[in-house]
Every structure is written in structure tokens, then in C-alpha cells.
Symmetry: C2
Subunit: 417 residues, 2 copies
């Protein structure tokens, strides 16, 4: 674990969080080749909690086209008692119909048998190409090999097994000092494209050896996902397969009770962890060079949300971000398009704290200073929609987003992903 995991101006390392190595207590992971990617590539990741009393919480994509593994997780597992994850890369098992459902169930059952658990405790996740039948000829041998490889330091191998177009791994292991004792939180994520949230668009598995009630696990995951994977966009696209699963082994012996100081501190650590992983996903962003953060304030909740998404997903804003061009007219354009028929908008726009537009009108600014500010790797944009007299129009939101560069086109025009 590199010491600079929290390497973004937009995430503070909580004072009670230190870097660690390896999975949270009570968890082991492994990986193997199951013949899905072919050429002997590692494409199967297995993550197991040794406790049969594990507590879990999960969030899935809201797409109208749900992949088979999402349907199996959602409908055929015990929601708060998942204790294992089997994940493959190379095939999303989406738009694959009854045969895809049978394949997802077969993955679940073969894994349950290999690790000696009930099938309903095994979550299944897939990522890769959509609409291609998932062939499991090598799965039985693969899951046996992954089971044999299970170890507490297996998070790195597991993380690599679930990567597709990811340029780098996204994982962390953190020790969290709670009032009641030290616990560990570990997480592994993947995601680089087909990323826009509602909530997320990626796979992320989070483990802790703290002991949580199911309601506490649900609450913490729900709040932290809303502030992380829910707030990012690579390309405005929503995957058929997004899955986030939190599993709690209780192996540390530290019980985190509802509404305690422990819960607050663990929540802070989880929040920072998931926000940082979310930023790593947009930083990967299939060839992304710069990442942006747009903050929109001064409207109804739905309005600030719509504007922030429109800016974050505007190919004109994203190419300008890529080119370090502080072309704020494109931000005005995106807001105008998002808010049809509301002219005149009294927009204020600032880039890196430099005001460029006030009350809908360009204001003089130091172009050299603005150009220099736009050349950084993390660029912050602020938009205020107008003077706020009504508290109902005082909402604020953010979206963190990738730029759009040649590498995104190369990756997505030249490969079937």
C-alpha cells in the first residue's frame, strides 16, 4: 500500500486512519484463470469471509438491462449474510437470457461447493463484454485453484483478476482507530469506462473486521456510496453490472453499535476510502489525463443535479478539460442546454476560484493565471445559478468527472469491450 493513497485535494485522510497491508481480519482472497479471457489470463477472483456469521450490505446498478449476476445477487442471495464473492472479468454475462442466468447460478453453486458455504451466501459479479454467452468450461478448475490460493494477502491478486480496461489497480487497506479498538477496512475496486452512477458503475468490494449489525452496514454503505460512486462520471454511461458489496467479519472483536462514536469514526474512514476509490476510477477513466470537480449551487435539488451532470457529461467541457483550456463558454452552454427555456440565466462561473462569468456576463480575468490554473491535474469548476432568496433553491451538489481524450476514443473505437 503506497503511503499516498489519499492523493487528491478532494479527500482528506481522517486523522484516525493509517495505511495497512492485506485484507481485513477474517477475510482471504485468491485468483485463478478460468478460461473466460483466454490465453491463461487471470480472470476469476474469489473473496471469502471465514466467519459463517458475516454481515453484508450491497448496492446494484439501476439499469433497465440488468446482467445475470446482478439478478442472482439481488434475488438469490441472503442480502445481509453474504460471506463470499466470486467475480470474473472478460464477460459481463449481460443480455444473455436464461442461459446467462443458469451460468451465474452455476458460478454461485460451484463456488459455494468449493468453499463449503451455502449458495445463498455467495455473491456473483461479472465484468466485460455484453451479449456474449459465458462459457464455464474452465470454471470448476479455476475456482478450485482460487480456493487453494486463498490468503489474507490475496487482495492484490483478486483486484487484478477483476480488471478489464483499467490502467491501474484500485485498492486500499486501512487501519482505523475507533474508540472501542482498532479495526481494518480493505477494499478492491475496478472501473474505467461505462461509468456513470445512479449509483455507480463499477465493482467494489469492501471488507471490515469490525462487527456491525445489518442495519448499520446498510446505513454506512448507503451513505458512503451516495457520496462517492454516485458522484462520479467517466462517460455518462451506466453499466449493466455495477455492484458494491460490504462484508463485515467481526474478527476484530470490536462491535460498532448504531449511533455510536465508533460508527461515526468508521463512517468517516469508509467515506474517505470510497471517495478516494471513486476518484481513482475517474482518474483512470480510459485514458483520462485530468479530472474535474463541478460544484453547482443555487437551485432546487433536481436542478443543481441536472446541471452538474450536464456539465460533467458534456463532451465539449470534457475535451476542454483534457486540453487544459479554460473555455467556460462551454460550461454556460451545458447549463443553458440543461435548463431549457429559462433564459436569461444569471450564471456565476469560476474556474479554480477565478471568476470568469457573473450574472450571466463575462467578467475580466487574468487569462495567464486562468490558463495556468487550468493546466493542473485536478480542476475545480463552480457554478451558481443565480441569487438565492428562497431556501428551496439553495441546494448544492458536486460531480467528479474524467476528461475526454484520444485514449478514450482509441480504447472504445478499436476494441470490443
Amino acid at each position: 500500500m503506497s503511503p499516498d493513497f489519499f492523493a487528491s485535494r478532494w479527500v482528506q485522510r481522517p486523522a484516525h486512519v493509517t495505511d495497512a497491508d492485506g485484507l481485513a481480519g477474517g477475510f482471504r482472497a485468491g485468483a485463478a484463470a478460468a478460461g473466460i479471457k483466454g490465453h491463461g489470463a487471470i480472470d476469476l477472483g474469489l473473496l471469502v469471509c471465514d466467519s459463517a456469521d458475516a454481515v453484508s450490505a450491497a448496492r446494484y446498478t439501476r439499469s433497465g438491462v440488468l446482467a445475470a449476476p446482478v439478478l442472482v445477487c439481488r434475488d438469490e442471495t441472503t442480502p445481509n449474510a453474504m460471506r463470499a464473492v466470486v467475480a470474473n472479468s472478460g464477460n459481463a454475462n449481460a443480455a444473455t437470457g436464461p442461459a446467462g442466468m443458469a451460468a451465474a447460478r452455476a458460478m454461485q453453486q460451484m463456488t459455494a461447493q468449493a468453499i463449503g458455504a451455502e449458495p445463498g451466501c455467495v455473491a456473483v459479479a461479472s465484468t466485460g463484454v455484453i451479449g456474449v454467452p459465458l462459457v464455464l468450461d474452465g470454471f470448476q478448475a479455476g475456482v478450485a485453484a482460487a480456493t487453494a490460493a486463498l490468503q489474507r494477502g490475496g487482495d492484490e491478486a483478486f483486484n487484478e483478476a477483476i480488471m478489464t480496461t483499467d490502467a491501474f489497480a484500485k485498492r486500499a487497506s486501512l487501519d482505523v482507530q475507533l474508540p472501542s479498538g482498532m479495526v481494518r477496512v480493505s477494499a478492491q475496486a475496478k472501473g474505467a469506462g461505462m461509468i456513470e452512477p445512479a449509483f455507480a458503475t463499477m465493482l467494489c468490494f469492501v471488507q471490515t473486521d469490525a462487527a456491525l449489525e445489518p442495519e448499520t452496514a446498510e446505513l454506512l454503505l448507503s451513505v458512503c456510496v451516495k457520496r462517492s460512486f454516485d458522484r462520479i462520471s467517466v462517460d455518462g454511461q451506466l453499466s449493466t453490472n455495477d455492484t458494491v458489496i460490504l462484508m463485515c467479519s467481526g474478527a476484530s472483536g470490536v462491535h460498532v453499535t448504531a449511533e455510536s462514536e465508533d460508527e461515526l469514526r468508521l463512517g468517516e474512514a469508509l467515506d474517505a476510502l470510497l471517495r478516494m476509490l471513486a476518484i481513482m476510477i475517474i482518474r483512470d477513466g480510459e485514458g483520462s489525463k485530468r479530472v474535474g470537480r463541478i460544484v453547482v449551487r443555487g437551485g432546487a435539488g433536481e436542478v443543481v443535479e441536472r446541471c452538474a451532470r450536464a456539465i460533467a457529461n458534456s463532451p465539449l467541457v470534457k475535451t476542454a478539460l483534457h486540453g487544459a483550456d479554460p473555455n467556460w463558454g462551454r460550461i454556460a452552454q451545458a447549463v443553458g442546454a440543461a435548463l431549457h427555456g429559462t433564459a436569461p440565466l444569471m450564471l456565476d462561473i469560476a474556474i479554480e476560484g477565478i471568476a470568469v462569468c457573473a450574472g450571466g456576463v463575462a467578467v475580466p480575468y487574468d487569462l495567464d493565471a486562468l490558463n495556468a490554473a487550468a493546466a493542473g491535474l485536478e480542476i475545480e469548476y463552480e457554478v451558481a445559478l443565480g441569487p438565492v432568496s428562497d431556501p428551496a433553491h439553495a441546494f448544492e451538489t458536486e460531480v467528479l468527472f474524467s476528461d475526454l481524450g484520444h485514449e478514450y476514443v482509441t480504447i472504445n473505437a478499436e476494441y470490443t469491450t
Copy 2:
């Protein structure tokens, strides 16, 4: 005018339409340098109807950020009696506040004086960078030069004066045989990026020497814009400046009365003309190589619209189109994302008539044939959202769209436009 103006499988040349040269009778156009682009570039286009009884109709962008020239056209002209257009490239005069309004009015007034018309009869249009003050130091001389250059064959120069990132000119001159006589329709359009309609996203000026009542002009323009500029997308972005103006001189002496066969035939010609210009805009599309047409059927009107837009604006679909990759999983993804929480969707998907997904499930297809079909320059996608039992869910719509390639990134990351 090249004989293959109607060079798209998606537009049929009406049998009563033949190619012509020069503007419709009663119109003259000219161009000059007004110092807005600098370096002596031609950046001012002037279009004048010689009849003081001209009848006009117009459509403007619905953006919440309206450029000053749009506000002047909308609020400070006689809507059905515009007889001249002055247009500049190099500066959009948007987000420029009171000074921008004053500049747009000054353009209108100086032009009115130069051609001897009332200011309220002169439409103003601008295209170029947003948020930069429009300096008119060279305008007076420019409009005088353009007035001196006015001629019936001036449509080419006018068209060139309004181009920005356009790679080629988009104009036509057509003779239209109506039952009551021959009329001419001419049109000049610009647009390559910041193009998504609601309605349009570009400038287009249309002239005819037919005599139309204001109501007929309104009706024909409204219907034809809905079927053309309203149905295209380069990049899902809505400009602050979109303007379409139809002007009718009556110089042919052919009166087109409401609900007549003349109106029907003129409407057919206008429809084909505007659809073809719209396709030329997406074909330009800032580096576009291939264009797509998505047809979505089998849902409520709002639902098919949302799906078609989601597909047309998906960077994953657009990069696949660019790469001639028949990656239909990305179409399924886009539909799923557009229709949150409606799983399971019983999608049918076909590419170039080849079924690839039925009832939400991949179907076997000849990959070689599909790859060959996806390598054309105009690719047609069809999506059916499910079996239709209720007529309220039997709507169908189309969107025509550009691909997303390296050239778009180069143009938009490296230049302030």
C-alpha cells in the same frame, strides 16, 4: 450545385425537385471581412430580400443561455416580416451581457442603414466563441462592402462567411415544380459541433421566391425543422445561438395557399432539403467518419425519445460507430441507463437489419456479415422496447448522429471554439 446533393439513403429527392444555381428569386447575398475573426478573414455574411413585403418565419434555440443576437431576433424584429439577415462568425456574442445586446442592436442598425430597411426587418445571427466581447470596429466598413457585393449568386460567399469549424459548405439551390408554377428554394447552413437539437443547433437560412402567407411559412418551417434539425445530434450539446430563418420573396409570382397541392409539394421539397442539410451537419460533425440513424419503437412518446437520445449521445455507441464495431451491448447499456429500474427489458436490437438481440437476449448472427454491414458510412440501428399491446406504447422516433473520433477530440481539446 453538385447533382448528388441528396446523397443519403435517408433522404429521397422528390420527383418534382431539380438542382439549380444561385439564390431564390428576389434574394441577393454578399460577404466581407469585418475584423471579427481577424487576419482579413471573411466573417460577415449579408442576405437581403429585395421585396419590402417579404414573409418570414423563424426558430431559435431553447437554451437557458441565449446569445444576444437570438434575443434581438426574438424580441426586436417583426417576426413574420424579416427581409434581411446579417450574420458573423468568429464570435457568438453570448454571455456578453448588456454590451453584447448593444453590439447585436448595432449590427442590426448598421445593416438596416446600409441596405435601406427598417431595423425590425433585419435578423442578426452570430457563431463562434462564447463569452468574449464582440468588437465592431470593422463592422461598418464590412457591411458596406457586403452590401456592395450583393448578388443573386452570392450564396456561396455568404455560406463561407458563416462557417466556423465546418469542414465543408452546406447549401443548396433547388427548383421545385409546383402545380401552379416553378419556384426556387435556396438554403445555406453551418454547423459541425455543439449540435443537439431542441430544436436545432446551427444556423440555417432558407429562401424561396414562392409567395406564402405568414401562417403557411410558420407551418412549413415548423414541421420541417421538427423532422430535420430536431432529429440530429453531433455531441448532445445545445448551442446558445441556433437560428433557422425562412424568408419568402414572392418574386416567382406563384402563390402557395394553405392546404393546397402547392403547399404539399413545397413542403416535400423543404422537408427533403432540410433533412439533407441536417445530415450534412452530422456528417461534418467535427471529424465524423460515419453517421448513424437510430430508430426506437414500442414505447410511449417520451420513452422512445429518451432512448433514442441516450443511444445517439452515448460516447460508447459513438466510438463503436467510428470504429465500425457492431458492439450492440453498448446500445443495450444505453437503453438500460435511459430506463432506470425497468428491468427486465425485452429489447430487440438490429444493426443494418441483422437481428442481434431479441427479447433482451443475444441471438446467433453471422459476425462476418455484421462486421461488413457496420463498415458502411451510414449505419442504421433499430431498437424495439418490447411487445406492444397498448397503442399508447406504439410510438416510434429516430435520431441521426455523428460518430466520435480522434478528430473531434483534436478539434475540441486543442482550440478555443
